[in-house]
Amino acid sequence: MKLLFGNKKNDLLSLLKKQDPAAQKIFYEQNVKRFLSVSKSYVSDLYQAEDCLIKAFCKIFKHIESFRGESNLDSWARRIVVNECLNFIKSHKTVFYLDEINQSFHEDIHEPEIDCDFNAQELLDQLPDAYRMVFNLYVLEGYSHQEIADTLQISIAVSKTQLFRAKEKLRKIYFQQQKKVKNEKV
């Protein structure tokens, strides 16, 4: 009752550490929709994204005692969700990372103006797994290339290449979609 009305994070954390089922359910209800959105951005299939989320929540509740409180509980839990999604992709799919490209390509990016009326999930779903993982880690999670390289066990140069190609691909897909919309209107 105290949790429902007071909603204090410290109380919730202490109860989660005691493996209290009520506290676990409250934490689940607070975060499930947001975490499913995150999971869906990595794993395009909803059912598989939900499976990843189930595993992630189980890990969160199991290893909650290892949470030291240095960072926010939500961001710690989100990191577990992301890691679970990455593990799923690694174990269920063959991911190919393309070779490195020259540094000059990274700098020469033409960025035309865009409209905001597009579906981000549609764009992400069309990206290959390797591109999507690097793009999401860099753009959504705010990882540095060093962190991405450590997480995915690739070199920093490959991480940069993947990000460059991912952005390029997204732009292509976006403009193709815009063309289709214009043609439909005409």
Partner: protein, 203 residues
Amino acid sequence: MKKSKDTIEFEIKKQIEEREIAPSRDLWSEIELQNSNNQRSKSKMNWFLIAACLILTFSLGSVLFFLNQPSETQPELVKKTEKNTKDEIIKDPVQNNAPLAVENNDKKEVKKPLSQDKQEVISPVATGQTQLISKEPLPLKKMDIVQISNPKLMAKADSIKTPVKKKKYVDPSTLLFSVEHKDVIEKTKDGSNVATTIDLNAR
């Protein structure tokens, strides 16, 4: 200059951050189920660990307990070895001295060498035992020696066994002797074989 707000990446991030997706199925029930399974497996593991520790402690304790009691365990081993030697002794004289019994010599003559042989055979074993059983109490030794040094029983056992066996072969030396002294044998009308009086094994 283009602002970061205008890029596709920023728009994607904004959309994903603001988005909330409701699960299509009851995820909580599955999470609860997996949690309960994990807890059960944890408790099971704990029980297995406790059981394994108990078994280990008991086994180690029992091993140490039996190792620290040499007076009871070692004599058994020695007795077994003695029994084996006895069996060997019983078997060996039958094989070695079988021709002696067949040759219808006096039992007393047969018994004596047997007992001597036994003593000769037993003595090295016995000396070996004395070295092994140096820590043993004395009464056990006496019992063993008394058991082994009972020649009558051994001789009886031999006398019982030996007549049952029949000579199925002709000794080559007797055959040669009979051929060489054919005339002498023919002269004896009693039917008694000359070869029987000659102890060929006495060579």
